[in-house]
């Protein structure tokens, strides 16, 4: 032991302390292992603060983010006009091509994130919903509602857009079934309904570089239909969060009145959450609800890195894993 200088031995028979034989670096402190062994150690550095999540994970809580437009014209986001400044959007094919980035932007509440004076989703302010979060109270998540459409156009009806983050917490891939019910109408070629899944190329949020899209089910019903079943299953990789997406088209009921059905069902222990390792990812849900992803207005997303910020921003804002 190196030289130790003390003024007074106060307690003969006290605890024996073993000091380090060499000096530490500047700023280090002595640290005990509770067995009398002291070492030089760095001060504890708290990790960067992360935002609180919306709800505790793994408690059976299931949520999604959503937005909607109660406006006719399913042509493009956000202006919803064939002659507007934007590009084509096809709802039954929301998982692919240039449709996917528009779906994501609209679901997050702004169909033209780099826009200035344009409308956010619909072609007016008569019924566009901002980004919202919704939780299930049973086996269903979403809504089935009547709504009024001022333009009373039976074709090109409005839409609801939903994203539900699902995480596989196990070390092996798990096949998970999803069941949804959506209103549907297919008249101009731009409408229809669709359920699809976005899967990242790696399991860790911060290292995601590309995202692939898989359509599970879709509808192209040329007669107004207030409820079409959309079902499918997908294998979720180990320790990975995927995004299950839902896009419907409102169906005409009677003058000015439309049906907007958009919900998942069978969110219980017999079906979607039959495996206890499958949970709703609360970090991702919190991020989808609050983060500023600043995604581009356009671009082909399937298999590219355009949607990677959905995962990497979650790592930054709510903690990586």
């Amino acid at each position: 032991m190196s030289k130790l200088v003390v003024d007074t031995i106060q307690r003969p028979g006290g605890a024996t302390l073993s000091f380090p034989v060499t000096d530490g670096t500047a700023g280090q402190f002595l640290k005990s292992d509770a067995s009398g062994n002291l070492t030089f150690s760095d001060t504890y550095v708290f990790p960067s603060p992360t935002l609180p999540i919306l709800a505790q994970e793994g408690k059976g809580i299931v949520g999604c983010v959503s937005s909607f437009t109660d406006r006719n014209n399913t042509y493009s986001s956000p202006q919803w006009s064939s002659s507007g400044p934007w590009t084509t959007y096809t709802n039954y094919n929301a998982h692919d091509d240039n449709n996917l980035i528009q779906f994501i932007n609209m679901a997050l509440g702004d169909g033209l994130p780099q826009g200035t004076s344009e409308w956010f989703i619909g072609d007016d302010d008569r019924g566009s919903g901002p980004r919202a979060v919704q939780f299930a109270t049973g086996d269903r998540l979403g809504y089935k509602r009547d709504r009024l459409q001022w333009s009373n156009s039976t074709s090109n009806g409005g839409h609801t857009f939903r994203i539900m983050p699902i995480r596989n917490t196990s070390a092996a891939a798990i096949s998970v079934p999803f069941y949804a019910r959506c209103s549907d109408y297919y008249s101009s070629g731009y409408e229809g309904t669709c359920m699809f899944v976005l899967t990242p190329n790696t399991s860790t949020y911060s290292t995601v570089t590309t995202v692939s899209s898989t359509r599970l089910s879709y509808g192209q019903t040329s007669t107004d239909q207030s409820g079409t079943n959309l079902t499918g299953s997908i294998s979720i990789p180990a320790n990975t969060t995927v995004l299950v997406c839902l896009a419907n088209t409102n169906s005409y009921q009677t003058t000015y009145r439309f049906k907007d059905t958009s919900h998942w069902y069978y969110l219980n222990s017999s079906y979607t959450f039959s495996n206890t390792n499958i949970v709703c990812d609360m970090r991702m849900l919190s991020s989808l609800y609050t983060s500023n992803f600043n995604l581009p207005n356009t671009g082909t997303c399937n298999g590219t890195g355009i949607l990677a910020p959905l995962w990497t921003k979650t790592a930054t804002n709510f903690g990586d894993r």
């Binding site: 094919n93 079934p177 297919y186 101009s188 070629g189 879709y218 509808g219 192209q220 040329s222 079943n229």
Partner: protein, 130 residues
């Protein structure tokens, strides 16, 4: 995957798996490869991706039907708005010329579907100025 077709043999619902409430006999089992098709069509015993021409033809039919419904609805609205003009007590107070204008206007509304360009190119008669 499972497909249900409409009366025109075009797919209207495509599902990856059947919910327990569905009767399998109501559905046609189709190869997953068709999931990426723009439209699925039942061509006799063959189920295949519809060609662009077939898709466009279907959409044109749908658009015409939708336009016809919309024009008839607008026509019905105009007729309803002018119903009060032909109530016997009110109609009798108009001059003969005004009565002719009203009658001609409502007749033109009723004959709207007979216009050659109906329903895509339609001239909606202007409301009479009395």
């Amino acid at each position: 995957m499972f497909v249900k077709f409409n009366e025109q043999n075009m797919a209207k619902e495509v599902m990856g798996l059947l919910p327990p409430t569905e009767n399998p006999a109501d559905w046609t089992v189709v190869s997953d490869e068709l999931m990426s098709a723009r439209r699925i069509i039942k061509d006799g015993d063959i189920i295949r991706a519809a060609t662009d021409a077939e898709c466009d033809a279907e959409l044109n039919t749908l658009r015409v039907a939708a336009a016809a419904n919309k024009m008839r609805w607008e026509r019905d609205q105009a007729l309803t708005l002018s119903d009060s003009l032909v109530l016997p007590d009110r109609f009798a107070k108009f001059t003969a010329a005004q009565q002719a204008t009203i009658t001609t206007y409502r007749e033109a509304l009723r004959n709207l579907p007979d216009q050659p360009g109906f329903p895509l190119e339609v001239t909606i008669p202007g409301a009479p100025v009395l």
